[in-house]
C-alpha cells in the first residue's frame, strides 16, 4: 500500500535506540513494551506451570510422596496467582500493546511513558509475590481467593500478597487507561468505532472492566490488611464483622476478572477464524453487542461462586437466572464463529488449528458452566474437581490457547520471519491431546466426589488422577516446543514473511512491512473500508 511505502522513508530518522538498556528499560515504544509484556508472560507461564507440575506429581498417586500438605496449599495458591496475574493478563496486555495501535492506525499508545511504567511495575510486583516462598512460614497458602479468616491466619506472607495485588493492580489500571485513551483518541481518520477490528473492541470493553474492578479488589485486600495488622473487624465475626462480606466483595471483582481473561481471547479468535476462512466475520455487530452484554452481565453474577455459603432463596434464584443468561451472548459468539467457517475456504495453519480447538474446548468449558449455574446441582459440584476441570477448560484451552493462536498469527509480523509450520503443528497436536488427557478426567473426579485443593485422596480417585497427571506432564513438556518455535522464528528462521503474511488477512496491521518497523503510522493511513478487518461494515 502506498502509505506503507512512505512509512519506510520516515522511519530513518528515529530507529530503535542502539543501547540495550535504553531500548528495553526506558522504552516508550508500544511494540517494544508489547514484546516485554509477552516475554514476561511467557516466563510466568513457566513459573506457574512448574508449580502445576509439582501439584500433579504429588497427585500422581494416593498418599503423600513429595510435599507437605501446607506446601501443597502454597503451590495451588501461587499457581493461580502467577497464572492469572502473571501469565494470562500480561499476555493480553502485551498483545493489546503490540496490535491495537497497528490495528487502529495510531503511531503509538496514547500515554507511552505510563505504558513503560505499567510494565515495569510487574517485575517488582512478582518479585514481591514470589519472594514470599522464602519467608518464615512460607508463601500464602489460603487459596488465591484469599478467603478470611484462613488467609490472615498464616504468617506475614499475606502482607506480601496484598502489596503484590496493589502494585499489579496499579499496573493493570494504568494499562487499561492507556488502552481506552488510545482507542478513543488515536484512531486514524475514517476508523469509526464500528469499523474497528473485533480484537480492539474486546480490549476496549475489557479495559473498562479492569478499571471498574481492580479498585474493588484493592479495597477488599486492604480491609484484609487492616483486619490482620490494625485491629479492624471487617471480616472477623468475633468483632462484629462478616467473613462472607469478603467473598461478596472479592467476587464482585472476581467475576468480571474472569471475563477480563476471556474477552480479548474472543477478539483474537474473531480475527483468526475469518482470516483462515477467507470470509468476513459473521455478525460483526452482534459480536460487539454480545461482548458488551457479557461485560454487563459479569457485574451481576458474582454470587454464583458462593451458592453454598447459605444465601437466601431469592438471592440464589437471582444469581442462577443471571448466570444462565450469560450463555445467550456467549452462544451467539460460538454460533457466529461456526457460521463464519461455513461456506468459507478453509486452511489450517497453526493459528487456525488453535482457534478451532479454542471454539470446541471453550464451548465444553461453557457447557460445564451451565451445569454449574444450576444451584441444586451446584451444591454437588461446588468446590470439587468438576469446577477445576471447568475453569481450566475456559482458561487453558480458552485463554491460553487463544494467546498461542495469537502468537502464531502475528509472530511473522513482529519478527519478519515465518515460524516453522511443521513444529507449530507438532506443538498444537501434542498440546490439544495432552490438555484433554489432563483436564477431561477431572470432570469425573469431581462428580465422583473428589474435593479440590486436596493433596491426597481415596484410592477410588487414583486412576483418573494418574491419567490426569500424565496428561499434565506431557502438556508441560510440550510447551518447551512453543519456546523453541518462537526462538527459532525470531533468530534463526530463513523464510521471510511477506507484509500480508496470510492470504486472507485483512486490517491495517498487514499493510505495514514485516517486521513492523519501530515506528508505524507516523502519518495516519488512508482507510479503505474493503480492506478493514472482517466486519460487515455496511450493516
Amino acid at each position: 500500500m502506498a502509505h506503507a511505502a512512505t512509512q519506510d522513508h520516515h522511519d530513518d530518522h528515529h530507529e530503535a535506540p542502539k543501547s540495550f538498556f535504553r531500548r528495553w528499560f526506558m522504552s516508550t515504544n508500544h511494540k517494544d513494551i508489547g514484546t516485554l509484556y509477552l516475554i514476561f508472560a511467557l516466563l510466568m507461564f513457566f513459573i506457574g506451570g512448574s508449580m502445576a507440575m509439582l501439584i500433579r506429581a504429588e497427585l500422581f498417586e494416593p498418599g503423600l510422596q513429595l510435599v507437605q500438605p501446607y506446601f501443597f496449599n502454597e503451590l495451588t495458591t501461587m499457581h493461580a496467582l502467577v497464572m492469572i496475574f502473571g501469565a494470562i493478563m500480561p499476555a493480553f496486555v502485551g498483545l493489546g500493546n503490540w496490535m491495537i495501535p497497528l490495528m487502529v492506525g495510531a503511531p503509538d499508545m496514547a500515554l507511552p511513558r505510563m505504558n513503560n511504567m505499567s510494565f515495569w511495575l510487574l517485575p517488582f510486583a512478582f518479585t514481591i509475590l514470589l519472594s514470599s516462598f522464602f519467608l518464615p512460614g512460607g508463601a500464602p497458602a489460603g487459596g488465591w481467593t484469599m478467603y478470611p479468616p484462613l488467609s490472615i491466619q498464616g504468617g506475614d506472607s499475606i502482607a506480601f500478597l496484598i502489596f503484590f495485588v496493589h502494585v499489579s493492580g496499579i499496573s493493570s489500571i494504568m494499562g487499561a487507561i492507556n488502552i481506552i485513551a488510545t482507542i478513543l483518541n488515536m484512531r486514524a481518520p475514517g476508523m469509526d468505532l464500528l469499523k474497528m477490528p473485533i480484537f480492539v473492541w474486546t480490549w476496549l470493553i475489557t479495559a473498562f472492566l479492569l478499571i471498574a474492578v481492580m479498585p474493588v479488589l484493592a479495597g477488599a485486600v486492604t480491609m484484609l490488611l487492616t483486619d490482620k495488622y490494625f485491629g479492624t473487624s471487617f471480616f472477623n465475626a468475633a468483632g462484629g464483622g462478616d467473613p462472607v462480606l469478603f467473598q461478596h466483595v472479592f467476587w464482585f471483582f472476581g467475576h468480571p476478572e474472569v471475563y477480563i481473561m476471556i474477552l480479548p481471547a474472543f477478539g483474537i479468535i474473531s480475527e483468526i477464524i475469518p482470516t483462515f476462512s477467507r470470509k468476513p466475520l459473521f455478525g460483526y455487530k452482534a459480536m460487539v453487542y454480545a461482548t458488551a452484554s457479557i461485560a454487563f452481565l459479569s457485574f451481576i453474577v458474582w454470587a454464583h461462586h458462593m451458592f453454598a455459603v447459605g444465601l437466601p432463596l431469592g438471592a440464589e434464584l437471582f444469581f442462577m437466572y443471571a448466570t444462565m443468561l450469560i450463555a445467550v451472548p456467549t452462544g451467539v459468539k460460538v454460533f457466529n464463529w461456526v457460521t463464519t467457517m461455513w461456506k468459507g475456504s478453509l486452511t489450517f495453519e497453526t493459528p487456525m488449528l488453535f482457534a478451532v480447538a479454542f471454539v470446541i474446548l471453550f464451548t465444553i468449558g461453557g457447557f460445564s458452566g451451565i451445569m454449574l449455574a444450576l444451584v441444586p446441582a451446584d451444591f454437588q459440584y461446588q468446590d470439587t474437581y468438576f469446577v477445576v476441570a471447568h475453569f481450566h477448560y475456559v482458561l487453558v484451552t480458552g485463554a491460553a490457547f487463544s494467546i498461542m493462536a495469537a502468537v502464531y498469527y502475528w509472530l511473522p509480523k513482529w519478527s519478519g520471519n515465518m515460524y516453522s509450520e511443521r513444529w507449530g503443528k507438532i506443538h498444537f497436536w501434542l498440546s490439544v491431546i495432552s490438555v484433554n488427557v489432563l483436564f477431561f478426567p477431572q470432570h469425573f473426579l469431581g462428580l465422583a466426589g473428589m474435593p479440590r485443593r486436596v493433596p491426597d485422596y481415596n484410592v477410588a480417585f487414583a486412576d483418573f488422577n494418574m491419567i490426569s497427571s500424565i496428561g499434565g506432564f506431557v502438556f508441560g513438556a510440550t510447551q518447551l516446543i512453543f519456546v523453541g518455535v518462537i526462538i527459532h522464528c525470531v533468530f534463526f528462521a530463513k523464510k521471510k514473511a511477506t507484509d500480508r503474511v496470510w492470504e486472507g488477512s485483512k486490517g491495517l496491521e498487514w499493510t505495514v512491512p514485516s517486521p513492523a518497523p519501530h515506528h508505524t503510522f507516523s502519518v495516519p493511513p488512508v482507510i479503505d473500508d474493503s480492506q478493514l478487518a472482517h466486519g460487515d461494515v455496511g450493516h
Binding site: Q68, K279, W342, L346, V356, P451, R452, R453, N458
Partner: protein
C-alpha cells in the same frame, strides 16, 4: 463352560458399566466412577436428574455445533477447491440462535427452581443436629429429637488412626491397605466417631465454623453447606435407607483440609433411639462421675 465364562464376564462387565453410569451400586466413591451418585435422599435423586438433564442438553447442543463445525472443516477446505462466499450476516438466523437458547435455559431453570424451593425449606424437622467445623475435625451436637431437647450428646469426629498414619509424608504405608471390615477401601474417608442419624426422619442441620470456613459435604445426601464462623447455616436431609455415607470438607481450611472426612451412619429409627438414650445416660454418668471427682474438665468426646 467356556461360553459360560465369557457370558459371566460380560455380565459382570455390563453390571459394572451400568453402575458406572448410574452410580447406584456403590454408596461411596469407587474406581473409574464417572458420574454423580444418585444418593439416598429425594434431594440427591432430583439433583442427579437435573445433572443428567443439563448434561444431555449440553450433549445435544454439542453434537449440533461441533457437528456443523466438523462438516465445515471437511467440506469447505481450500484444498478441495472451496471458494469463500461473501455473506456475513443474517438477522433471521441470529434471532433464532438468540431465542432458542433462552427457551432451553428456561427449560432447565424451571426444574432447578422447583428443587431449590423445596430443598430450602427446613421447617418441620423432627430432629436437629449442630455441626461445627474445626481445623481439622468436625463436632456434632445433638440439639433435639422428636420435640425433646437432647441432653449433652455431642462429640468430635476426626480422621481415623489408620488413615492418619498412612497419609503422613513418606509413611511407607500403602493407602490401598486401608480397608474396613468388608474390605472396602476407606482411606481418608473414615472417622473415629461417625455421625449417627435415623433414616426416614427429616433432620435439620445447623452448620457453623469454629475457626475458619469449612464446608460440610456428603455426596449421598445431595448437597454441601459452608460452615462459617459467626454464621449459622441451616440445611436438612431425610435419608431413605440405612448405610454408611462418606464425605469430605469441601472448603479450603488450611493444611489438613484434605484430612477431615465426614461419615454419616444412618440406622433404623428404633436403633437410633436406643443409641441416643445410651449416649444421654452415658453423659449423665460421666457428669456424675466428674462431680464426684470435682475435676471440672470440659468433656467433649463421649462417642
Amino acid at each position: 463352560m467356556k461360553f459360560g465364562g465369557i457370558r459371566g464376564r460380560a455380565t459382570t462387565w455390563l453390571v459394572a458399566a451400568s453402575a458406572l453410569l448410574s452410580g447406584s451400586a456403590w454408596a461411596n466413591p469407587h474406581p473409574w466412577q464417572l458420574n454423580l451418585t444418585k444418593g439416598v435422599t429425594q434431594t440427591s435423586k432430583e439433583v442427579w436428574d437435573l445433572n443428567m438433564a443439563s448434561f444431555l442438553v449440553c450433549v445435544v447442543i454439542g453434537i449440533i455445533v461441533f457437528g456443523a463445525m466438523i462438516i465445515a472443516m471437511i467440506r469447505f477446505r481450500k484444498s478441495k477447491g472451496a471458494v469463500a462466499e461473501k455473506w456475513s450476516h443474517s438477522t433471521k438466523l441470529e434471532l433464532v440462535w438468540t431465542i432458542v437458547p433462552v427457551l432451553i435455559l428456561i427449560g432447565l431453570a424451571w426444574p432447578a427452581t422447583k428443587i431449590l424451593v423445596r430443598t430450602t425449606d427446613t421447617a418441620d424437622a423432627k430432629m436437629t443436629v449442630k455441626v461445627t467445623g474445626y481445623q481439622w475435625k468436625w463436632r456434632y451436637d445433638y440439639v433435639d429429637y422428636d420435640g425433646k431437647t437432647v441432653k449433652k450428646v455431642g462429640f468430635m469426629s476426626r480422621l481415623d488412626k489408620k488413615s492418619d498414619a498412612t497419609r503422613q509424608l513418606d509413611s511407607g504405608l500403602d493407602p490401598n491397605k486401608v480397608v474396613d471390615a468388608n474390605g472396602t477401601n476407606d482411606y481418608l474417608l473414615n472417622v473415629d466417631h461417625p455421625l449417627v442419624v435415623p433414616v426416614g426422619v427429616k433432620i435439620r442441620f445447623l452448620i457453623t465454623g469454629g475457626d475458619v470456613i469449612h464446608s460440610w459435604w456428603v455426596p449421598d445426601l445431595g448437597w454441601k453447606m459452608d460452615a462459617i464462623p459467626g454464621i449459622v447455616n441451616a440445611a436438612w436431609t431425610k435419608i431413605s435407607k440405612p448405610g454408611i455415607y462418606r464425605g469430605q470438607c469441601a472448603e479450603l481450611c488450611g493444611q489438613d483440609h484434605g484430612f477431615m472426612p465426614i461419615v454419616v451412619k444412618a440406622v433404623p429409627q428404633a436403633q437410633f433411639e436406643q443409641w441416643l438414650a445410651a449416649q444421654e445416660s452415658a453423659a449423665q454418668l460421666d457428669k456424675a462421675a466428674r462431680t464426684a471427682q470435682a475435676t471440672p474438665t470440659p468433656g467433649d468426646s463421649q462417642g
